[in-house]
Protein backbone atom coordinates (compact mmCIF):
# COMPACT_ATOMS: atom_id res chain seq x y z
CA UNK A 1 0.00 0.00 0.00
CA UNK A 2 1.42 3.37 -1.05
CA UNK A 3 -0.47 5.32 1.59
CA UNK A 4 0.78 5.56 5.15
CA UNK A 5 -1.24 3.57 7.68
CA UNK A 6 -1.14 5.35 11.00
CA UNK A 7 -1.95 3.02 13.89
CA UNK A 8 -0.17 4.90 16.65
CA UNK A 9 -2.88 7.28 17.83
CA UNK A 10 -1.94 6.71 21.48
CA UNK A 11 1.43 8.32 20.70
CA UNK A 12 -0.08 11.33 19.00
CA UNK A 13 -2.82 12.14 16.51
CA UNK A 14 -3.22 14.12 13.35
CA UNK A 15 -4.56 17.61 14.05
CA UNK A 16 -8.01 17.75 12.47
CA UNK A 17 -8.31 20.19 9.55
CA UNK A 18 -11.17 21.99 11.35
CA UNK A 19 -8.88 22.45 14.34
CA UNK A 20 -6.05 23.86 12.22
CA UNK A 21 -8.52 26.21 10.55
CA UNK A 22 -9.78 27.45 13.91
CA UNK A 23 -6.20 28.09 15.08
CA UNK A 24 -4.84 29.91 12.01
CA UNK A 25 -6.27 33.42 12.63
CA UNK A 26 -4.59 33.45 16.05
CA UNK A 27 -1.16 33.29 14.46
CA UNK A 28 -1.52 35.93 11.79
CA UNK A 29 -4.43 38.30 12.42
CA UNK A 30 -5.45 37.97 16.06
CA UNK A 31 -1.97 37.85 17.56
CA UNK A 32 -2.64 40.12 20.56
CA UNK A 33 -1.68 39.22 24.10
CA UNK A 34 -4.82 38.32 26.09
CA UNK A 35 -3.47 40.29 29.05
CA UNK A 36 -3.41 43.57 27.12
CA UNK A 37 -6.10 46.18 27.69
CA UNK A 38 -6.98 47.32 24.15
CA UNK A 39 -9.93 46.02 22.19
CA UNK A 40 -7.71 44.13 19.69
CA UNK A 41 -6.42 41.87 22.47
CA UNK A 42 -9.72 41.31 24.23
CA UNK A 43 -10.79 39.15 21.30
CA UNK A 44 -8.01 36.78 22.29
CA UNK A 45 -9.09 36.75 25.89
CA UNK A 46 -12.59 35.86 24.72
CA UNK A 47 -11.25 33.05 22.51
CA UNK A 48 -9.28 31.61 25.45
CA UNK A 49 -12.36 31.76 27.69
CA UNK A 50 -14.52 30.03 25.10
CA UNK A 51 -11.95 27.27 24.66
CA UNK A 52 -11.77 26.85 28.42
CA UNK A 53 -15.53 26.31 28.54
CA UNK A 54 -15.33 23.71 25.77
CA UNK A 55 -12.58 21.65 27.39
CA UNK A 56 -14.32 21.91 30.78
CA UNK A 57 -17.63 20.49 29.56
CA UNK A 58 -15.98 17.22 28.51
CA UNK A 59 -15.34 16.39 32.18
CA UNK A 60 -18.28 18.23 33.74
CA UNK A 61 -15.99 20.81 35.35
CA UNK A 62 -16.56 24.48 35.90
CA UNK A 63 -14.72 26.76 33.47
CA UNK A 64 -12.82 28.36 36.36
CA UNK A 65 -11.37 24.99 37.33
CA UNK A 66 -9.35 24.55 34.10
CA UNK A 67 -5.72 25.70 34.03
CA UNK A 68 -3.95 25.45 30.69
CA UNK A 69 -0.44 23.99 30.66
CA UNK A 70 2.09 23.08 27.99
CA UNK A 71 0.79 19.51 27.98
CA UNK A 72 -0.02 16.43 30.02
CA UNK A 73 3.47 15.99 31.42
CA UNK A 74 3.49 19.50 32.88
CA UNK A 75 0.03 18.95 34.36
CA UNK A 76 1.19 15.71 36.05
CA UNK A 77 4.36 17.33 37.37
CA UNK A 78 2.40 20.29 38.67
CA UNK A 79 -0.26 18.21 40.41
CA UNK A 80 2.19 15.96 42.24
CA UNK A 81 4.85 18.49 43.15
CA UNK A 82 2.40 21.19 44.18
CA UNK A 83 0.38 18.85 46.41
CA UNK A 84 3.58 17.58 48.04
CA UNK A 85 4.52 21.18 48.70
CA UNK A 86 1.15 22.64 49.75
CA UNK A 87 0.07 19.73 51.94
CA UNK A 88 3.41 19.10 53.66
CA UNK A 89 1.79 20.08 56.99
CA UNK A 90 -0.66 17.22 56.62
CA UNK A 91 1.72 14.53 55.48
CA UNK A 92 4.34 13.28 53.05
CA UNK A 93 2.88 10.11 51.56
CA UNK A 94 1.62 9.59 47.99
CA UNK A 95 -0.06 6.49 46.59
CA UNK A 96 0.16 5.69 42.90
CA UNK A 97 0.24 2.60 40.70
CA UNK A 98 3.13 0.64 39.24
CA UNK A 99 2.08 1.22 35.68
CA UNK A 100 1.61 4.98 35.54
CA UNK A 101 3.05 7.03 32.71
CA UNK A 102 6.64 8.14 33.29
CA UNK A 103 5.37 11.70 33.76
CA UNK A 104 3.93 10.50 37.07
CA UNK A 105 6.45 7.76 37.95
CA UNK A 106 9.56 9.84 37.39
CA UNK A 107 8.00 12.77 39.23
CA UNK A 108 7.36 10.40 42.16
CA UNK A 109 10.95 9.21 42.01
CA UNK A 110 12.09 12.83 42.12
CA UNK A 111 9.83 13.54 45.10
CA UNK A 112 11.19 10.48 46.91
CA UNK A 113 14.60 12.11 46.80
CA UNK A 114 13.06 15.11 48.53
CA UNK A 115 11.43 13.49 51.54
CA UNK A 116 8.18 12.22 50.05
CA UNK A 117 7.26 8.58 50.58
CA UNK A 118 5.54 6.83 47.71
CA UNK A 119 3.62 3.54 47.61
CA UNK A 120 3.36 1.94 44.17
CA UNK A 121 0.25 -0.24 44.15
CA UNK A 122 0.19 -3.40 42.01
CA UNK A 123 -2.10 -3.99 39.07
CA UNK A 124 -3.61 -7.37 38.29
CA UNK A 125 -2.87 -9.53 35.25
CA UNK A 126 -5.54 -7.67 33.27
CA UNK A 127 -3.98 -4.30 34.02
CA UNK A 128 -6.51 -3.07 36.58
CA UNK A 129 -5.30 -1.53 39.85
CA UNK A 130 -5.81 -3.62 43.01
CA UNK A 131 -8.31 -1.55 44.98
CA UNK A 132 -7.94 -3.46 48.25
CA UNK A 133 -4.18 -2.95 48.16
CA UNK A 134 -4.71 0.72 47.40
CA UNK A 135 -6.99 1.23 50.39
CA UNK A 136 -4.66 -0.72 52.69
CA UNK A 137 -1.78 1.53 51.63
CA UNK A 138 -3.47 4.60 53.08
CA UNK A 139 -1.68 6.10 56.09
CA UNK A 140 -2.53 9.05 58.30
CA UNK A 141 0.16 10.94 56.37
CA UNK A 142 -1.25 10.17 52.89
CA UNK A 143 -1.94 13.39 51.02
CA UNK A 144 -2.55 12.22 47.48
CA UNK A 145 -3.69 9.27 45.39
CA UNK A 146 -2.69 9.49 41.73
CA UNK A 147 -3.98 6.78 39.37
CA UNK A 148 -4.26 7.08 35.61
CA UNK A 149 -7.72 7.02 34.01
CA UNK A 150 -6.65 4.66 31.22
CA UNK A 151 -3.27 3.12 30.54
CA UNK A 152 -1.30 4.38 27.56
CA UNK A 153 0.13 1.02 26.51
CA UNK A 154 -2.57 -1.56 27.16
CA UNK A 155 -5.54 0.83 27.23
CA UNK A 156 -7.09 -0.56 30.41
CA UNK A 157 -9.65 1.74 32.04
CA UNK A 158 -9.25 2.00 35.81
CA UNK A 159 -12.07 1.94 38.39
CA UNK A 160 -11.81 5.72 38.78
CA UNK A 161 -15.15 6.21 40.53
CA UNK A 162 -14.26 3.60 43.17
CA UNK A 163 -10.85 5.19 43.71
CA UNK A 164 -12.55 8.57 44.04
CA UNK A 165 -14.84 7.14 46.72
CA UNK A 166 -11.92 5.69 48.65
CA UNK A 167 -10.07 9.01 48.47
CA UNK A 168 -13.13 10.94 49.61
CA UNK A 169 -13.81 8.52 52.47
CA UNK A 170 -10.29 9.05 53.79
CA UNK A 171 -10.22 12.77 52.97
CA UNK A 172 -7.28 12.41 50.57
CA UNK A 173 -6.84 14.32 47.30
CA UNK A 174 -7.31 12.30 44.12
CA UNK A 175 -5.45 13.10 40.90
CA UNK A 176 -5.87 11.20 37.65
CA UNK A 177 -3.73 11.34 34.53
CA UNK A 178 -6.49 11.22 31.92
CA UNK A 179 -4.25 11.96 28.94
CA UNK A 180 -5.30 8.79 27.07
CA UNK A 181 -8.94 8.79 28.15
CA UNK A 182 -9.94 12.46 27.89
CA UNK A 183 -12.35 12.96 24.99
CA UNK A 184 -12.41 9.23 24.26
CA UNK A 185 -14.70 7.89 26.98
CA UNK A 186 -17.26 9.61 29.25
CA UNK A 187 -16.02 11.06 32.53
CA UNK A 188 -17.36 13.41 35.16
CA UNK A 189 -15.10 14.91 37.79
CA UNK A 190 -17.91 15.52 40.30
CA UNK A 191 -19.53 12.13 39.96
CA UNK A 192 -16.11 10.44 40.20
CA UNK A 193 -14.75 12.59 43.05
CA UNK A 194 -11.73 13.68 41.04
CA UNK A 195 -9.82 16.60 42.56
CA UNK A 196 -7.24 17.00 39.81
CA UNK A 197 -7.10 15.73 36.24
CA UNK A 198 -4.43 16.02 33.55
CA UNK A 199 -5.23 16.11 29.83
CA UNK A 200 -3.45 16.87 26.57
CA UNK A 201 -4.81 18.14 23.25
CA UNK A 202 -2.64 16.16 20.85
CA UNK A 203 -4.16 12.83 21.86
CA UNK A 204 -7.58 13.90 20.59
CA UNK A 205 -6.69 15.39 17.20
CA UNK A 206 -5.68 18.72 18.69
CA UNK A 207 -2.31 20.47 18.52
CA UNK A 208 0.84 19.50 20.43
CA UNK A 209 2.19 21.61 23.28
CA UNK A 210 -1.10 22.33 25.02
CA UNK A 211 -2.83 20.57 27.89
CA UNK A 212 -4.56 21.42 31.11
CA UNK A 213 -4.76 20.58 34.76
CA UNK A 214 -8.23 20.57 36.25
CA UNK A 215 -8.08 21.68 39.88
CA UNK A 216 -11.28 21.37 41.87
CA UNK A 217 -12.35 24.53 43.70
CA UNK A 218 -10.97 24.45 47.21
CA UNK A 219 -7.84 22.44 46.40
CA UNK A 220 -5.08 24.66 47.66
CA UNK A 221 -2.17 24.25 45.33
CA UNK A 222 -0.06 27.02 43.90
CA UNK A 223 1.74 27.53 40.65
CA UNK A 224 5.11 26.05 40.19
CA UNK A 225 5.79 28.23 37.18
CA UNK A 226 6.25 31.73 38.51
CA UNK A 227 5.87 34.98 36.60
CA UNK A 228 2.85 36.89 35.41
CA UNK A 229 -0.70 36.58 36.67
CA UNK A 230 -2.09 34.35 33.91
CA UNK A 231 -4.43 31.41 34.61
CA UNK A 232 -5.79 33.03 37.78
CA UNK A 233 -2.22 33.43 39.04
CA UNK A 234 -1.70 29.71 39.05
CA UNK A 235 0.32 29.20 35.89
CA UNK A 236 2.44 32.07 34.67
CA UNK A 237 3.38 32.75 31.07
CA UNK A 238 1.61 34.33 28.10
CA UNK A 239 -1.14 32.01 26.97
CA UNK A 240 -0.55 29.76 23.96
CA UNK A 241 -3.61 31.26 22.29
CA UNK A 242 -3.56 29.27 19.01
CA UNK A 243 -2.95 26.09 21.00
CA UNK A 244 -5.74 26.83 23.45
CA UNK A 245 -8.18 27.64 20.63
CA UNK A 246 -7.16 24.41 18.89
CA UNK A 247 -7.62 22.44 22.08
CA UNK A 248 -11.09 23.95 22.50
CA UNK A 249 -12.10 23.00 18.97
CA UNK A 250 -10.65 19.49 19.28
CA UNK A 251 -12.41 18.95 22.62
CA UNK A 252 -15.69 20.20 21.18
CA UNK A 253 -15.51 17.78 18.24
CA UNK A 254 -14.29 14.90 20.43
CA UNK A 255 -17.18 15.45 22.84
CA UNK A 256 -19.81 15.61 20.09
CA UNK A 257 -18.50 12.57 18.22
CA UNK A 258 -17.48 10.45 21.24
CA UNK A 259 -20.18 7.78 20.95
CA UNK A 260 -19.93 7.27 17.20
CA UNK A 261 -16.13 7.27 17.23
CA UNK A 262 -16.06 4.76 20.08
CA UNK A 263 -18.38 2.48 18.13
CA UNK A 264 -16.38 2.76 14.90
CA UNK A 265 -13.00 2.34 16.61
CA UNK A 266 -14.17 -0.58 18.74
CA UNK A 267 -15.39 -2.32 15.58
CA UNK A 268 -12.02 -1.91 13.87
CA UNK A 269 -10.13 -2.85 17.04
CA UNK A 270 -12.18 -6.02 17.43
CA UNK A 271 -11.65 -6.95 13.79
CA UNK A 272 -7.92 -6.57 14.32
CA UNK A 273 -7.97 -8.75 17.45
CA UNK A 274 -10.18 -11.38 15.85
CA UNK A 275 -8.08 -11.78 12.74
CA UNK A 276 -4.73 -11.82 14.56
CA UNK A 277 -5.87 -14.39 17.13
CA UNK A 278 -7.42 -16.60 14.47
CA UNK A 279 -4.62 -16.41 11.95
CA UNK A 280 -1.40 -16.22 13.97
CA UNK A 281 -0.38 -18.87 16.52
CA UNK A 282 1.38 -18.12 19.83
CA UNK A 283 0.01 -14.63 20.34
CA UNK A 284 -1.80 -13.04 23.26
CA UNK A 285 -3.75 -9.83 23.84
CA UNK A 286 -2.36 -7.83 26.74
CA UNK A 287 -4.78 -6.04 29.04
CA UNK A 288 -8.48 -6.42 29.67
CA UNK A 289 -10.91 -7.51 26.95
CA UNK A 290 -13.74 -5.19 27.99
CA UNK A 291 -12.39 -2.51 30.29
CA UNK A 292 -10.16 -0.93 27.65
CA UNK A 293 -10.10 2.16 25.46
CA UNK A 294 -12.03 1.73 22.19
CA UNK A 295 -8.97 2.40 20.03
CA UNK A 296 -6.33 0.27 21.78
CA UNK A 297 -4.98 -3.19 21.15
CA UNK A 298 -1.75 -4.60 22.51
CA UNK A 299 -0.42 -7.98 21.37
CA UNK A 300 2.55 -10.09 22.38
CA UNK A 301 3.96 -12.33 19.68
CA UNK A 302 5.96 -15.12 21.20
CA UNK A 303 9.55 -15.80 20.03
CA UNK A 304 10.06 -12.46 18.29
CA UNK A 305 11.25 -9.04 19.34
CA UNK A 306 9.18 -5.87 19.00
CA UNK A 307 11.64 -3.51 17.37
CA UNK A 308 12.27 -5.90 14.46
CA UNK A 309 8.54 -6.11 13.98
CA UNK A 310 8.17 -2.31 14.04
CA UNK A 311 10.91 -1.74 11.47
CA UNK A 312 9.40 -4.28 9.10
CA UNK A 313 5.94 -2.76 9.56
CA UNK A 314 7.47 0.65 8.87
CA UNK A 315 8.91 -0.68 5.61
CA UNK A 316 5.32 -1.47 4.69
CA UNK A 317 4.22 2.08 5.62
CA UNK A 318 2.56 1.00 8.86
CA UNK A 319 3.22 3.10 11.98
CA UNK A 320 2.93 1.21 15.28
CA UNK A 321 4.65 1.00 18.64
CA UNK A 322 6.19 -1.61 20.97
CA UNK A 323 7.13 -2.01 24.61
CA UNK A 324 10.36 -3.80 23.81
CA UNK A 325 13.56 -2.67 25.49
CA UNK A 326 15.07 -1.66 22.18
CA UNK A 327 12.41 0.97 21.68
CA UNK A 328 12.80 2.37 25.18
CA UNK A 329 16.57 2.81 25.05
CA UNK A 330 17.16 0.61 28.09
CA UNK A 331 17.61 -3.10 28.58
CA UNK A 332 14.26 -3.61 30.26
CA UNK A 333 11.01 -3.88 28.39
CA UNK A 334 8.05 -1.68 29.27
CA UNK A 335 7.28 -1.35 32.98
CA UNK A 336 3.59 -1.57 32.11
CA UNK A 337 3.92 -5.02 30.55
CA UNK A 338 6.11 -6.23 33.42
CA UNK A 339 3.57 -4.87 35.93
CA UNK A 340 0.84 -7.16 34.57
CA UNK A 341 3.18 -10.10 35.12
CA UNK A 342 4.47 -10.76 31.62
CA UNK A 343 7.87 -12.48 31.45
CA UNK A 344 10.56 -10.32 29.85
CA UNK A 345 10.71 -12.26 26.59
CA UNK A 346 6.94 -11.93 26.08
CA UNK A 347 7.07 -8.22 26.90
CA UNK A 348 9.87 -7.78 24.33
CA UNK A 349 7.57 -9.15 21.65
CA UNK A 350 4.78 -6.66 22.19
CA UNK A 351 3.04 -4.56 19.58
CA UNK A 352 0.63 -1.71 20.29
CA UNK A 353 -1.79 -0.64 17.58
CA UNK A 354 -4.09 2.30 18.24
CA UNK A 355 -6.68 3.22 15.62
CA UNK A 356 -8.00 6.71 14.94
CA UNK A 357 -11.08 8.36 13.49
CA UNK A 358 -9.71 8.03 9.97
CA UNK A 359 -8.74 4.34 10.22
CA UNK A 360 -10.48 2.00 7.79
CA UNK A 361 -11.30 -1.69 7.59
CA UNK A 362 -9.11 -1.93 4.49
CA UNK A 363 -6.15 -0.61 6.47
CA UNK A 364 -6.75 -3.12 9.25
CA UNK A 365 -6.93 -6.01 6.79
CA UNK A 366 -3.73 -4.92 5.06
CA UNK A 367 -1.99 -4.53 8.44
CA UNK A 368 -2.97 -8.01 9.61
CA UNK A 369 -1.75 -9.50 6.31
CA UNK A 370 1.61 -7.80 6.79
CA UNK A 371 1.90 -8.75 10.48
CA UNK A 372 1.33 -12.38 9.46
CA UNK A 373 4.13 -12.32 6.90
CA UNK A 374 6.56 -10.54 9.21
CA UNK A 375 5.89 -12.78 12.21
CA UNK A 376 6.61 -15.86 10.08
CA UNK A 377 9.82 -14.32 8.75
CA UNK A 378 11.07 -13.30 12.21
CA UNK A 379 10.14 -16.61 13.80
CA UNK A 380 12.08 -18.44 11.11
CA UNK A 381 15.20 -16.66 12.26
CA UNK A 382 14.46 -16.94 15.99
CA UNK A 383 16.49 -19.37 18.12
CA UNK A 384 13.65 -19.32 20.68
CA UNK A 385 11.21 -20.58 18.07
CA UNK A 386 13.72 -23.20 16.91
CA UNK A 387 14.09 -24.51 20.48
CA UNK A 388 10.33 -24.47 20.99
CA UNK A 389 9.61 -26.41 17.79
CA UNK A 390 12.31 -28.98 18.60
CA UNK A 391 10.77 -29.69 21.97
CA UNK A 392 7.32 -30.28 20.52
Amino acid sequence: MEKKIYLDNAATTKTRPEVVEAMLPYFSELYGNPSSVYEFATQNKKAVDEARTKVAQVIGADTSEIYFTAGGTEADNWALKAVADAYSDKGNHIITSKFEHHAVLHTCEYLEKHGIEVTYVDVDEYGIIKLDQLEKAIRPTTILISVMFANNEIGTIQPIKEIGEIAKKHNILFHTDAVQAYGQIPMDVNDMNIDMLSASAHKLNGPKGIGFLYIKKGVKIRSYIHGGGQERQRRAGTENVPGIVGFGKAAEIAFETMAERAEQETKLRNLLIKRVLEEIPFVRVNGDKIRRLPNNVNFSFQFIEGESLLIMLDMNNICASSGSACTSGSLDPSHVLLSIGLPHEIAHGSLRLTVGYESTEEEIDYTVDKIKEIVIKLRNMSPLYEDFMRKR
Partner: protein, 145 residues
Protein backbone atom coordinates in the same frame (compact mmCIF):
# COMPACT_ATOMS: atom_id res chain seq x y z
CA UNK B 1 18.29 5.46 12.88
CA UNK B 2 20.13 2.66 11.03
CA UNK B 3 22.62 2.85 8.14
CA UNK B 4 21.69 1.46 4.73
CA UNK B 5 23.96 -1.53 5.31
CA UNK B 6 22.28 -2.36 8.62
CA UNK B 7 18.88 -2.14 6.96
CA UNK B 8 20.11 -4.32 4.10
CA UNK B 9 21.41 -7.01 6.45
CA UNK B 10 18.29 -6.79 8.60
CA UNK B 11 15.81 -7.11 5.75
CA UNK B 12 17.87 -9.59 3.70
CA UNK B 13 19.91 -11.37 6.33
CA UNK B 14 22.66 -13.64 4.98
CA UNK B 15 23.14 -17.20 6.25
CA UNK B 16 19.96 -17.57 8.29
CA UNK B 17 19.34 -21.14 9.32
CA UNK B 18 20.78 -24.16 11.08
CA UNK B 19 23.55 -26.63 10.30
CA UNK B 20 22.88 -30.23 11.21
CA UNK B 21 25.76 -31.91 13.03
CA UNK B 22 27.60 -28.59 13.13
CA UNK B 23 31.27 -28.56 14.16
CA UNK B 24 30.44 -25.90 16.74
CA UNK B 25 27.32 -24.12 18.00
CA UNK B 26 27.33 -21.05 20.22
CA UNK B 27 24.34 -19.33 21.84
CA UNK B 28 24.75 -16.07 23.73
CA UNK B 29 22.52 -13.40 25.24
CA UNK B 30 19.29 -13.90 27.07
CA UNK B 31 15.61 -13.40 26.43
CA UNK B 32 15.31 -11.17 29.47
CA UNK B 33 17.38 -8.49 27.78
CA UNK B 34 15.70 -9.04 24.46
CA UNK B 35 18.44 -10.59 22.38
CA UNK B 36 19.72 -14.11 21.79
CA UNK B 37 22.16 -15.06 19.06
CA UNK B 38 23.02 -18.57 17.93
CA UNK B 39 25.81 -19.31 15.45
CA UNK B 40 26.48 -22.66 13.77
CA UNK B 41 29.91 -23.39 12.28
CA UNK B 42 30.90 -26.09 9.81
CA UNK B 43 34.68 -26.41 10.06
CA UNK B 44 36.67 -28.79 7.86
CA UNK B 45 39.66 -30.85 9.00
CA UNK B 46 42.12 -28.15 7.91
CA UNK B 47 40.46 -25.69 10.28
CA UNK B 48 38.65 -23.64 7.62
CA UNK B 49 35.10 -22.42 8.27
CA UNK B 50 33.29 -23.92 5.30
CA UNK B 51 29.81 -22.82 6.25
CA UNK B 52 28.13 -20.72 8.87
CA UNK B 53 24.48 -20.12 9.80
CA UNK B 54 22.72 -18.09 12.44
CA UNK B 55 19.45 -17.58 14.26
CA UNK B 56 18.75 -14.42 16.23
CA UNK B 57 15.97 -13.17 18.50
CA UNK B 58 16.41 -9.43 18.78
CA UNK B 59 16.17 -6.00 17.29
CA UNK B 60 17.19 -4.85 13.81
CA UNK B 61 20.78 -4.27 14.90
CA UNK B 62 21.02 -7.72 16.48
CA UNK B 63 19.90 -9.40 13.25
CA UNK B 64 22.18 -7.22 11.10
CA UNK B 65 25.28 -7.82 13.26
CA UNK B 66 24.64 -11.57 13.23
CA UNK B 67 24.29 -11.54 9.48
CA UNK B 68 27.45 -9.47 9.00
CA UNK B 69 29.41 -11.60 11.48
CA UNK B 70 28.56 -14.74 9.51
CA UNK B 71 29.71 -13.06 6.31
CA UNK B 72 33.01 -12.07 7.91
CA UNK B 73 33.88 -15.52 9.26
CA UNK B 74 32.84 -17.55 6.23
CA UNK B 75 35.88 -19.11 4.50
CA UNK B 76 38.25 -17.94 7.23
CA UNK B 77 40.51 -20.12 9.33
CA UNK B 78 39.62 -20.63 12.96
CA UNK B 79 42.49 -18.34 13.96
CA UNK B 80 41.41 -15.58 11.59
CA UNK B 81 37.80 -15.86 12.71
CA UNK B 82 38.92 -15.37 16.27
CA UNK B 83 40.44 -12.02 15.31
CA UNK B 84 37.11 -10.60 14.15
CA UNK B 85 36.07 -8.04 16.73
CA UNK B 86 32.80 -6.27 17.37
CA UNK B 87 34.47 -3.14 15.94
CA UNK B 88 35.09 -4.93 12.65
CA UNK B 89 31.43 -5.98 12.53
CA UNK B 90 30.31 -2.42 13.25
CA UNK B 91 32.65 -0.92 10.66
CA UNK B 92 31.45 -3.38 8.05
CA UNK B 93 27.92 -2.15 8.75
CA UNK B 94 28.97 1.53 8.51
CA UNK B 95 28.31 1.97 12.21
CA UNK B 96 25.55 1.40 14.76
CA UNK B 97 23.65 3.80 17.02
CA UNK B 98 25.38 4.01 20.45
CA UNK B 99 22.57 2.13 22.24
CA UNK B 100 23.07 -0.77 19.82
CA UNK B 101 26.80 -1.28 20.24
CA UNK B 102 26.06 -4.16 22.62
CA UNK B 103 24.54 -6.06 19.67
CA UNK B 104 27.95 -6.14 17.96
CA UNK B 105 29.52 -7.42 21.18
CA UNK B 106 26.92 -10.15 21.16
CA UNK B 107 27.94 -11.12 17.61
CA UNK B 108 31.61 -11.35 18.61
CA UNK B 109 30.67 -13.43 21.65
CA UNK B 110 28.48 -15.73 19.57
CA UNK B 111 31.39 -16.53 17.23
CA UNK B 112 33.65 -17.17 20.21
CA UNK B 113 31.03 -19.40 21.81
CA UNK B 114 30.69 -21.47 18.64
CA UNK B 115 34.51 -21.77 18.35
CA UNK B 116 34.68 -22.79 22.02
CA UNK B 117 32.11 -25.50 21.39
CA UNK B 118 34.13 -26.72 18.37
CA UNK B 119 37.33 -26.81 20.45
CA UNK B 120 35.62 -28.73 23.25
CA UNK B 121 34.05 -31.25 20.88
CA UNK B 122 37.43 -31.93 19.25
CA UNK B 123 39.40 -31.71 22.46
CA UNK B 124 41.70 -29.03 21.06
CA UNK B 125 42.86 -25.71 22.37
CA UNK B 126 42.47 -22.60 20.23
CA UNK B 127 45.13 -20.12 21.18
CA UNK B 128 43.73 -16.83 22.43
CA UNK B 129 40.18 -18.13 22.89
CA UNK B 130 38.73 -17.68 26.33
CA UNK B 131 35.57 -19.29 27.63
CA UNK B 132 32.86 -16.93 26.42
CA UNK B 133 30.46 -15.21 28.76
CA UNK B 134 26.95 -16.45 28.25
CA UNK B 135 25.44 -13.13 29.22
CA UNK B 136 27.08 -10.06 27.73
CA UNK B 137 24.92 -7.73 29.82
CA UNK B 138 26.53 -8.76 33.09
CA UNK B 139 27.77 -5.74 34.94
CA UNK B 140 26.10 -3.21 32.65
CA UNK B 141 24.35 -0.42 34.44
CA UNK B 142 20.88 0.93 33.89
CA UNK B 143 20.40 4.52 32.82
CA UNK B 144 19.53 6.82 35.74
CA UNK B 145 16.77 9.34 35.38
Amino acid sequence: MYTEKVMDHFTNPRNVGEIENASGVGTVGNAKCGDIMRIYLDIDNTGIIKDVKFKTFGCGAAVATSSMATELVKGKSVQDALQITNKAVMEALDGLPPVKVHCSLLAEEAIHAALWDYAEKNDIKIEGLEKPKSDIHEGEEEVEY
